[in-house]
């Protein structure tokens, strides 16, 4: 049973990551390799606020969202000036710089030693310390995020994003403030990724930089592309597939020594095959630019 709840919590955490990255990939057409950086910024920001300033989980979470959302401006700016491959490189650079800071700014983050003993969230004296209660918390937060994103995508804002994804020139001539729309997408995507970070930190109660690497960014991109981007069901299909696949592999009895590599090889192969035969993913609408 615990195992099941563990999987469900992971689905919630990665669900938020995938839905938020989808805003960038599927709605703004920006292939960002920096999503794990925002995930990490959220995890570290909320953790440090809890551990160093003694804040409760929920205020720390909210502040973490704002911190990550503001730092997203750092990558939003290059995105306005750089197209295609150059933006991919800039996001890659951002990811590696953030990782380098998490890893090397030992005074703040304890670097490779990580931060242990992160307190569990509490609300009105109730502590979410059993896995069942943590699942309920995660599911609640995930649902809020989902409703938020759906509202956003169906709003005039979401419609404007879709228009510039299709034809940026026409959108501009129709009065769409393209730079501002993109900046907002980054702020929102970065802020939402921070929620996953805080949830993750509160769940495992220990974080270190290795959870927020370039590989993790690539993993989140894989989720979004496998499921498909440009709508909400695509990324969610991707999360289901990508989180359950490793468990399925475990059930067919793949030895633990080779399982991680085999899993990664499957991901790699999936990306190649999808790009070739089904660039919109399992259930997406948008094809990468």
């Amino acid at each position: 049973m615990n195992y099941l709840f563990h999987i469900l919590i992971m689905l919630c955490i990665y669900g938020i990551l995938a839905l938020s990255l989808n805003l960038l990939i599927g709605y703004s057409g920006l292939l960002s390799l920096a999503h794990a950086a925002f995930y990490g910024i959220g995890a570290y920001a909320s953790t440090l606020l809890m551990v160093k300033l003694g804040l409760n989980f929920f205020p720390a979470l909210i502040l973490g969202i704002f911190i990550s959302g503001s730092l997203a401006l750092l990558i939003a700016y290059p995105s306005l000036r750089l197209k295609g491959d150059y933006f991919v490189l800039a996001s890659l650079g951002f990811q590696l710089i953030v990782f380098s800071i998490l890893y090397n700014w030992i005074g703040l983050t304890r670097g490779p030693y990580g931060i242990p003993g992160i307190p569990r969230p509490t609300i009105f004296g109730f502590e979410f310390n059993s896995i069942t209660s943590y699942f309920i918390l995660s599911a609640g937060i995930f649902s809020l995020v989902f409703v938020f994103i759906r509202h956003l995508c169906q709003s005039p804002f979401g419609r404007a994003l879709k228009s510039l994804r299709e034809d940026e020139i026409a959108a501009r001539v129709m009065g769409k403030n393209v730079p501002l729309l993109k900046v907002w997408t980054f702020i929102i995507a970065g802020g939402l990724a921070a929620i996953s970070g805080a949830l993750y930190a509160g769940y495992v109660t220990y974080i270190d930089p290795t959870s927020f690497t370039l590989d993790e960014s690539i993993f989140i991109i894989t989720i979004v592309l496998v499921g498909g981007s440009g709508n909400l069901k695509g990324p969610l299909a991707g999360v289901l597939f990508m989180i359950i696949l490793p468990e399925a592999l475990r059930f067919i009895g793949l030895p633990d020594t080779i399982a991680p590599n085999v899993r990664q090889m499957i991901y790699g192969l999936l990306l190649i095959l999808l790009m070739r035969y089904r660039p919109q993913g399992l259930a997406g609408e948008y094809r990468l630019e």
Binding site: P156, F157, A170, V173, G175, K176, N177, V178
Partner: protein, 255 residues
């Protein structure tokens, strides 16, 4: 020139693309509330001039003034919000979005496109959306696309796409319209109603600048005509005068 003040003034505009002077010291005044035609051979620089006006290109030299406001340094979206709308030569509808969504995107200054408003000014946005929906229904009916409201715009026939682009432009409520070859690819019956439409909206107070290769159309609806050749304005006047000009006939009509 009419007594009324020009709505758009272009002064000495010059633009080179890849070493070629595509627009060369062009000065133009567009009379408010009139229909002005812009004619010239292929590659004369007409579309480029539109790109300069709508802010997609920056001039090398010269100025563009729209009603007391200098616009040649503004980004496209601000120019659109100032009141300049455009029909593209290559239509540029949003093919994957529905007909309705295309038209709902017409408002150049929709407050709901700012996320903060969505959450802090929700009531107001909902009201505006409702108004836009009603007006979208009106425009869809206006161009006869009722049955296609929810179809992706890319699935329409070419003529219907053009109508959609026109409906989208009109729904934007701009006071100054740039039309790049509005009649190209439209069947003759439709051309007639299109011209009626243009004349009607101009009577309603709007100003139109249009690029056209069909001289009958120019003669029929234009109040004024500019002739552009190799990036330069070589003739200006009433349609009959310009089309009667021997230089123009030589350069353009080959007679």
């Amino acid at each position: 020139m009419d007594n009324r003040k020009a709505i758009l003034k272009i002064l000495n505009l010059t633009k080179s693309l890849e070493g070629l002077k595509v627009v060369d010291s062009v000065s133009i005044d567009i009379a408010r509330g009139r229909i002005t035609g812009l004619i010239g051979p292929n590659g004369a620089g007409k579309t480029t001039l539109f790109n300069l006006i709508s802010g997609l290109l920056r001039p090398d030299k010269g100025e563009i003034w729209f009603e007391d406001k200098r616009i040649d340094t503004l980004p496209s979206w601000q120019i659109a919000r100032a009141g300049i709308g455009r029909l593209f030569q290559d239509i540029r509808i949003f093919r994957k979005l529905s007909v309705l969504e295309n038209i709902l995107l017409a408002d150049p200054n929709h407050p709901g496109e700012l996320p903060l408003n969505l959450f802090f000014n929700y009531r107001n946005i909902a009201r505006i959306e409702q108004k836009h929906l009603e007006s979208a229904e009106y425009w869809i009916e206006f161009v006869g696309l009722e049955g296609k409201k929810d179809s992706p715009a890319g699935s329409l026939s070419f003529g219907q796409q053009k109508l959609l682009a026109i409906a989208r432009l009109l729904a934007g409520g701009h006071k100054f319209l740039l039309l790049d070859e509005p009649t190209a690819g439209v069947n003759p019956a439709m051309i007639k109603s299109l011209l009626n439409l243009i004349q009607r909206i101009v009577k309603g107070g709007k100003t139109v600048l249009f690029i056209e290769h069909n001289m009958n159309v120019v003669l029929k609806i234009a109040d004024w005509v500019y002739f552009l050749d190799e990036g330069r304005v070589t003739s200006f006047g009433r349609p009959e005068e310009v089309l009667g000009d021997t230089e123009v006939r030589k350069a353009y009509l080959g007679v």
